[in-house]
């Protein structure tokens, strides 16, 4: 049963760089976007290393105050607008059509154009470094009046604003196309409640993208007008209005940067536990509730402004713990009774869930206005969001990379180097971000280029800087792993992990229109697992008949993979 609509190719074919740059193949666009995001990640990482060097000891003068402001602004902007969010969508562009059994993404030309709009925005944002006044330096949020032309003069901040507008336009368009793909291009048999877990997480993410990103575009356009002297945001109410607009994007984006990696980790855990994802229906319901609530919490970033109704936002922010709890419950339920294989991808997925817990629990604290007055603008907040975004999302991202790399390249990543990468990253992450809780609680404020002598601060900051170095080493090991694995290939085949979802029912890498053979029937959210279980039942029946009713096939035999089980 083929589900792909017959397709014909049009336009001339170009090879090489031009072909890769203008290809409308969703896999090529997804790869291009992922690679560009990864380059931005490396750039943002270098900025982080420079900041950590500056903060290694009290009164260090490694960079000037102005440069430090540019570094923290561009680090945050790069990581959010140019790495984690686009990477979440790049995964969607590459994987969602494959997971739902579609031949292509909806409106491939729009996706291609949107990728280039986003990339242009990223490059324009970074061009600020070359200007006389330097890059944007008002924070990744660029509050007014700080970001107006009187307080932050120079073309660098203008380029930052324009860059954010372009990046947001590109990401919004991509979100819309992914939404249309999921709604309109699913394989026969794939009802909404038979969609893979990862696709669901991408669906709720793109719903948030199309709902909230246009507000960022509006906020940035008004900021640009403000910088041209339009006086859009004047006085106290103007500053609050800007923050309201910005955070209406700024909080949902945190979840756009989280859900797809949660989905990736969930797929990895289910496959490596050799079990169906536990509590699927509850998971789907909780995702919809989680996403809706996360659209309703934005002003908890503004508790201390005195300009918002703290009670409403404390209520919605605290309520987030319920759907989050369901997801953890599902994860534990999937592991219980599973036949667990501790591959590198599984280590990263478990690392994601365990470390994100620290970020999530500290989020419950700062969701309380009373506690937030203590934590606001301190390193507690920096620790909290790095535990969600780095210790959480980036670990989920690496879980996905180790899991899907064979699909997109045809080769497996080396397990030994992968484990080294994981161990170094766990050490580096916790060494860097855990001390920030103690420093913040002790009163160290964020966004300062230097800090005074204070008992214990120098030591903890030095530890953090060392941790940042270990993270850099871990990333170097990962890059080495990619190079080694591509140069000396360990062929992966179609389905090296005995996957559950349709992307594993095609060659690695998949052909231009994804599926050249008929798709397996879709009777649940794990169609390939269904097939194996059916084969297992048939084998068992055959063995039973052959042995005259006394024999049976070994439990899980058809599921047995090439690797040993560790528990």
């Amino acid at each position: 049963m083929s589900v792909t609509a017959p397709a014909v190719s049009t336009a001339s074919r170009a090879s090489g760089l031009f072909g890769a740059a203008a290809s409308t193949d969703h896999k090529r666009i997804g790869l291009n976007m992922g690679l560009a995001s990864l380059l931005f990640f490396l750039g943002g990482g270098v900025m982080a290393l420079l900041m950590r060097t500056q903060l290694a000891q009290p009164h260090m003068r490694f960079v000037s105050d102005e440069t430090y402001n540019e570094l923290f602004t561009m680090h945050g902007s790069t990581m959010i607008y140019l790495f984690v969010t686009p990477m979440a969508l790049a995964l969607a562009v590459y994987l969602v059509p494959l997971q739902i059994g579609a031949a292509s993404i909806s409106a491939p030309r729009v996706v291609l154009g949107a990728f280039w709009v986003w990339l242009s925005g990223g490059i324009i944002m970074q061009l600020g470094w070359l200007t006389e006044e330097g890059a944007g330096r008002s924070g990744w949020f660029s509050y007014v009046p700080l970001a107006n032309s009187a307080n932050t003069p120079g073309v660098g901040q203008d380029l930052w604003t324009v860059g954010v507008i372009l990046a947001a336009v590109g990401l919004t368009l991509i979100g819309g196309c992914v939404l249309a793909t999921i709604a309109r291009r699913r394989a026969p048999g794939m009802s909404m409640m038979r969609m893979p877990v990862f696709t669901w997480t991408e669906l709720v993410s793109v719903l948030m993208v199309v709902g909230s990103f246009p507000v960022l575009i509006l906020a940035m356009s008004l900021l640009y007008a403000e910088r041209l002297g339009a006086h859009v945001f004047t006085g106290y109410s103007g500053a609050i209005d800007y923050q309201d607009l910005f955070w209406f994007f700024g909080h949902p984006v945190v979840y756009v940067m989280f859900f797809p990696f949660l989905g990736a980790a969930a797929e990895v855990i289910a496959v490596n536990a050799r079990k169906r994802w536990f509590g699927y229906a509850a998971f789907v319901a909780s995702m919809l509730a989680f996403a809706a609530l996360s659209m309703s919490v934005w002003s908890h970033h503004m508790y201390t402004t005195g300009g918002v109704t703290n009670q409403y936002f404390a209520f919605t922010s605290t309520a987030l713990a319920v759907p989050a709890g369901i997801e953890y419950f599902d994860m534990v339920g999937t592991l219980i009774g599973g036949s667990i294989v501790l591959r590198t991808s599984m280590l990263f997925a478990l690392g994601f869930f365990l470390q994100f817990l620290i970020g999530g629990l500290s989020g419950i604290f700062v969701a309380s206005p009373v506690l937030d007055y203590h934590a606001e603008d301190s390193y507690i907040v920096v620790a909290h969001f790095h535990y969600t975004l780095f210790a959480g999302s980036v670990f989920g991202f690496f879980a996905g990379v180790y899991h899907w790399f064979p699909k997109l390249s045809g080769a497996r990543l080396r397990e030994g180097l992968g484990r080294l990468h994981f161990v170094l990253l766990v050490i580096g992450t916790n060494l860097t971000f855990l001390p920030m809780f103690f420093l913040g609680n002790d009163g160290m404020v964020r966004r300062i280029a230097e800090y005074p002598q204070h008992p214990g601060w120098g030591t903890l900051n030095l530890l953090e800087t060392a941790g940042a170095g270990v993270i850099a080493l871990a990333i170097a090991v990962f890059l080495l792993n990619v190079v080694v694995s591509l140069r000396s290939r360990d062929p992966a085949g179609e389905d090296p992990w005995l996957g559950h979802t349709l992307e594993w029912a095609t060659s690695s890498p998949p052909p231009r229109h994804n599926f050249e053979r008929a798709l397996p029937p879709v009777t649940s959210y794990a169609p390939l697992l269904d097939l194996r279980e059916r084969a297992e039942r048939e084998d068992s029946r055959t063995a039973h008949v052959t042995a005259g009713g006394s024999g049976s096939a070994g439990r899980g035999a058809p599921d047995a993979g090439p690797e040993e089980r560790t528990s």
């Binding site: 014909v8 190719s9 336009a11 409308t24 031949a103 291609l112 925005g121 009802s191 719903l207 309703s296």
Partner: protein, 143 residues
């Protein structure tokens, strides 16, 4: 496509409830306006899906679609040019005004190129539709 609009509208429903609570609790005009806008966008997305295909609101798995020829361009320089044109215009506003004119020219060029691509797609679709069923379509299914 069957069911595609259901989660979109369900989500819009949850958002509407939260918007109503926000409106009653905070009464903040900016918040109500931006939240209302988001709800409207999601509702419109759901309505658009239903308008394109009535079954989008019906539950159940999608049925096999009748075979139809879909023209999928392998490459689109029009899309790339249009994106660079838009970026050039905005970059020009912030940095050097001549880039605005350059971008506008590029945008026109990309529209011309889009027309060529669309024409090629139409021709390709017509060719495939005329061909006997046994011959189509894998030979031309792209690289």
């Amino acid at each position: 496509m069957r069911g595609g609009a259901i989660p979109v509208l369900a989500w819009a429903g949850i958002l509407t409830v939260l918007l109503a609570v926000n409106a009653v609790w905070t009464g903040d005009e900016i918040q109500i306006a931006e939240y209302g806008f988001a709800v409207l966008v999601i509702v419109l997305a759901g309505v658009l899906l239903i308008a394109r295909h009535r079954a989008a609101i019906r539950r159940g798995p999608p049925e096999p679609r009748p075979a139809r020829v879909e023209a999928v361009p392998d490459l689109s320089f029009a899309a790339v040019l249009a994106a660079i044109a838009v970026a050039s215009i905005l970059f020009g506003l912030a940095w050097a005004y001549f880039l605005v004119y350059f971008g506008a020219g590029l945008l026109l060029l990309s529209l011309g190129r889009l027309a060529v691509e669309e024409q090629a797609a139409r021709a390709s679709r017509e060719r495939a539709e005329k061909r006997p069923a046994a011959e189509e379509p894998d030979a031309e299914r792209g690289t």
